[in-house]
Symmetry: C2
Amino acid sequence: MIERLLPGVAWMRRYDRESLRSDGLAALIVTIMLIPQSLAYALLAGLPPQVGLYASMLPLLGYALFGSSNALAVGPVAVVSLMTAAAVGKLASVGSPEYLGAALALALLSGGLLLAMGLLRLGFLANLLSHPVISGFITASGLLIAISQLKHLLGVEAGGHALPEILAALVAAAPETNPITLAIGLGALGFLFWVRHAFKAWLTRLGCGPRTADALAKAGPVMAVAVTTLVVAAFDLASAGVSVVGAIPQGLPPIALPPFDGELWAALLPSALLISVVGFVESVSVAQTLAAKRRERIDPNRELLGLGAANLAAGVSGGYPVTGGFARSVVNFDAGARTPMAGVLTAVGIGLTALFLTPLFHALPKATLAATIIVAVLSLVDLGALRRTWRYAKTDFAAMAATIVMVLAVGVEAGIVTGVALSVALFLWRSARPHMAVVGQVPATQHFRNVLRHEVVTSAHVLSLRVDESLYFANARSLEDRVYTLIAEHPRVTDLVLMCPAVNAIDASALESLEAINQRLAAGGVRFHLSEIKGPVMDRLERVDFLAHLSGQVFLSQHDAMRVLDPVATLRADIGSRPPQSSATLRTGA
Amino acid sequence: MIERLLPGVAWMRRYDRESLRSDGLAALIVTIMLIPQSLAYALLAGLPPQVGLYASMLPLLGYALFGSSNALAVGPVAVVSLMTAAAVGKLASVGSPEYLGAALALALLSGGLLLAMGLLRLGFLANLLSHPVISGFITASGLLIAISQLKHLLGVEAGGHALPEILAALVAAAPETNPITLAIGLGALGFLFWVRHAFKAWLTRLGCGPRTADALAKAGPVMAVAVTTLVVAAFDLASAGVSVVGAIPQGLPPIALPPFDGELWAALLPSALLISVVGFVESVSVAQTLAAKRRERIDPNRELLGLGAANLAAGVSGGYPVTGGFARSVVNFDAGARTPMAGVLTAVGIGLTALFLTPLFHALPKATLAATIIVAVLSLVDLGALRRTWRYAKTDFAAMAATIVMVLAVGVEAGIVTGVALSVALFLWRSARPHMAVVGQVPATQHFRNVLRHEVVTSAHVLSLRVDESLYFANARSLEDRVYTLIAEHPRVTDLVLMCPAVNAIDASALESLEAINQRLAAGGVRFHLSEIKGPVMDRLERVDFLAHLSGQVFLSQHDAMRVLDPVATLRADIGSRPPQSSATLRTGA
C-alpha cells in the first residue's frame, strides 16, 4: 500500500552500499554543476540568488518520493526560468516582495496542476505539444534567453520580455557599458565556449584519460566562477562598477505557504498551466531517453506526480517553478546515478552550500553567470530543424516557424499557445479534406486500387469510392460533396460502394451525412453500399437504425461487393489476365 | 466575365413569363409571412420594428445577385436575432442610438467576414460546427428565445441574456402582469398552436383541398396579427396598458454607412464571426436540402458571397444581421420559387409595405408577435436528439449537452464556443488513443486480422501490429508506449512489423517516434519493418533519411512481409486448413 502512495520506497528496500557509492559520486558532480546553474537561473528569472538554491533542495526530495525516473535531475532550468520571468513580470516589478511572492505562488499552482493532471491521468495533454512546436519553442527560447543575458555582459540595466523590447533596451543602454564587466563577461564566454568545444581534445592530447577529460570539461563553469570571483575580489572590482551577486543569506530555506491572494492566483493560473505542460514535456522526454538506455520504463502519470510534488515543495520553501533539466540529468546518468537517492544527496549538497558556502559567492560577477547561461542555452538552439521539417511537411514547418516567430516577437506564452493552436488547426484542416480514390480491381488479385495510380478493372454501373480517413464533423460534408459530384459525372451508375478500410470512426455528424447520401442517392435510383467496415465502427452503426434504412448492403470485403453487384466483370477480373505461373509462385511462398 | 462576378445574371438571361408568374406567387406568400416575422424578430433583437422591415429589403437583393440557391429566403431569423441581442446588449442599452449603431456595425462586419471567407474559400470553417453542436445550439436557443418572450405575454419589463437572469427577472416582474396583455398573448399562442397542429386536418375534414388547407395554415400568424390588432384598436386597449408596436416611420430604408468606431468594431468582431458562421451553417444546410430536391447544386463558397452581400446591404440600409431562414425558405420553395427573382419580388413587397402599410401595425400588440416567435422557435426544439446521440456516441452527446447547458446557463456565444472547443478536444482525445491490434493470418487467405477477434495463425518470432489511425503528434507517444510494452512482453520476438493500411498520414512528430522506435528496437536486437504503407505516406517518407536508417524493410503487403520473415509458418497458413471447396466457391463468384 505504502509503495503505491510513495513509489520511492520501492528502491529504498533494495538499497545497498554499492548503490550509495554510485549515487554519492553522481550527486557530488551534479551539486558542483548545479551551484552556478541555480544562481544563474534565479538571475534569469529575475529572482534573488538564494531562491535558485532553495529551488534545488526540497523539490529534489519531493521528486525522489513520487517520480519514476532513476536519473532525472530536477531543479531550476533555463526555459522554465524564462517563462517564470515572463509570467511574474506581468504582475509585479523585479526585486519587489510581490515579485517573490508571485514566483512562489506560481510554483505552488504549477505543482497543484501537475498533481491534479497526474491523479486524473491527464498526461496525454502533453501530446498536444507536437514535436515541431516543442523544438521551435526551445530554439526560440534559447535565442531569447541568450540575448536577454547580454545586458549582464555589458553591465547595464535593460528589461523586456520579447526580442524587439530587449533589443531596443540594449541599444539604448549600450553607451553605459562597463568595460571591466564586459571584459570579464567576454573572457568567461570565450573560456566556456573553448571548454565546450576544444578543451577535451586538448586534454586528451596532453595524455589525459577520456573519463577524466570529460569530468574536467564539465567543471568548466565552476572554474570560470572561481577564477572570475577571485579576480573581482582581489582587485575589488565591485567598487569599479562590476555587478556582483552580493550577500546571499546563509541558512536553510524558509518553510511557509505563499500569500493567498485569489486575484493573483487567478491571474497566474494560465501561466502556471503553460509552465506545467512545458516543464512536464521537457522532463518526461529526458527521463524517457535515459530510461531507455538502461531498458527501464517511465510512467508519465507518475512523472506528473513527482514533478507536482517537486513544485509544491518549491512553493512552500522559498523556491520557484522547477522541472527535470536536460544537461544536468545526462551528467547525473553518466556519473552513475542509480536511484532517486542521487537526487536526495544532491539536495543535501546544495543544503550544505546554502548553510556554509554562500559568503564565497559574494564577489561572483553576474557577467560570469550570464556567460554560463548563454553557453548552456545556445546548445539548445537547432535552426537546422527548420530545414529538415520544411522538407518533410509544410504544415509541421508552419507550426514550428509560427512558434519561433511568436516567441521572439511577442513572448514565450504567446509562442506556445500559437504553436499548439496552429498545429491543431492544421491537423483539422488536413483531415477535413481527406484523400478519396475511385478504385478498381487489380486483375488476378482480390485487391482494389486507385484507378488513377494503377491498371485496374472497373464496372460500368458500379462505382467504388475508397475514403482514407475517419469520417467526422470536419470532413463529413466534403464526403457528401465528392459523392454527389461523382454521381453527377456518372449518370449510368446504379450502385455506389463506399469502401471503408481506413475509416476508424464515424461520428454523429458523419452518420447524418451518410444518411443524407443514402436518401439522396435512393431518390436518384442509385443504391448505396458499404464495404470493409472495421469491427468497432460496425458495432456502433448497429446501435442506430441507419443500416435498416440503407438502400444497399454491407459487404465484408470489396471483392464480395463486386462479386454480388457485377459478377461478370468481377469473374473476368479474377481470372482475366492471370498468368498460370503467378498463382503457383504465390502458393509456394517464394 | 460578368457572369462570374454576378452569378445572378445567369438566370436572368433565361427568364420568362412563366418563371415570373411562379416567382411572383411565391414572393407574395413569403411577403405575407415575412411581415409579422420581421417585426417580431426585430423585437427579439431589441430593435425598433422598422429595422426588421429594412433587413428584409436590400439584403434580399444582395443575396439574389451573388447567392447560388434558387429557393433560399434571406432575412431576419430567430437564432441570429438572439445572437445580435446578446452581442449588442453587452455594449449598449436597448433603445439607445448606440444600440442601433452597433447592430448596423455588426451586420456590416458580419458581411465583410462572410465575403472574406467566400473569397478565401474558407467555407470549410463551418465544418467545425459538428452536427450535435448545431443541433444542441438550435434546441437551446429555441428554449431560450421562447422563455425570453414570456415577458411580452405578461406585459412586463424583464431583461437578461441567459436562463437564470431571465427567469429571475420574470419572477420579480410577474406581479406587474397586465391581465389584458396576458389574455391576448395566451389567446394568440393557443390559436397559433391549434393552427399548426389541428387546423389543416380540420380544414380537410370541412372539404378543403390539401393545397388550400396548407396555404391557409401558413397564414395563421397573419390572421392572429389582424384579429388582435383589430381588437386592440377597437377597444383602445393600448391605453389600458397593452404594449403595442406603435408608430413605425413610413418610407424606404435610410442608406448610410454605420458610424466607424474602431473600439466598437473590435469589440463586435468575435460576435460577428460567430454570427457569420452560425448564419452560414444554418443557411447552407437549408439551401442544400432544398437544392437536392430539384437535383440542383449549392456552391458553399458562393453562398458565403451571397450572405456576405446580404449582410453588407443590411449594414448600409438600416438593418441588422440576416441569413437564410428555414421555415421561410421551405414556404418559398413549396410556393414555387424558381429563381432568385422570388427574393427580389419579396423585397419589393416589403418595400411597398414599408411605404404604405406601416400605419396598420400601430395597434399590433407585442404579445401577438411574442406568440408567433414562441410557436416558431419551439418547433426547432428537438430534445429527442439528445437521446439518439447518447445511444450512438457518448463523445458526441457530451459536446451536444455541453452546448445546451452553456447556451442556457451562460449565453449563446459561450454555448457555441464551448461546443466547438469540446468537439475538437474530444476528437483529438479519441484519435490520441488509436485502436491498435496484434494481427495474424486468417488460414487459407492472405488476410490478416486481430488475434483477439479471429482464429488466426501467428509467427513465434515475428510480431505484427496494425495501427488504425493516422500517426500524428497527439498519438505518436502512445504508439511508442504500445510497441515497447509489446516487445517487453514477447522476449523471443526478432522482428516487428507495423501494418499501416489505415495510416493516412505521418506527421513530423510521428516520424520522430518511428525513428525512436527503430533505434530502440535495434538496440534490443529487434528489426523494425513497415507494411501496406499508402502511396502519399510513402512519398513523404522518401523525402527524409528515415528509410535509410530502418533496421528492417518496407513491404507492399502484410502477406509479403510474412512470406519473407517467416516463410514456413506462412506457407502452412496459406495452405494449412483450406477446405478445397471454398476456393472453388470464391472463383465462381457465388
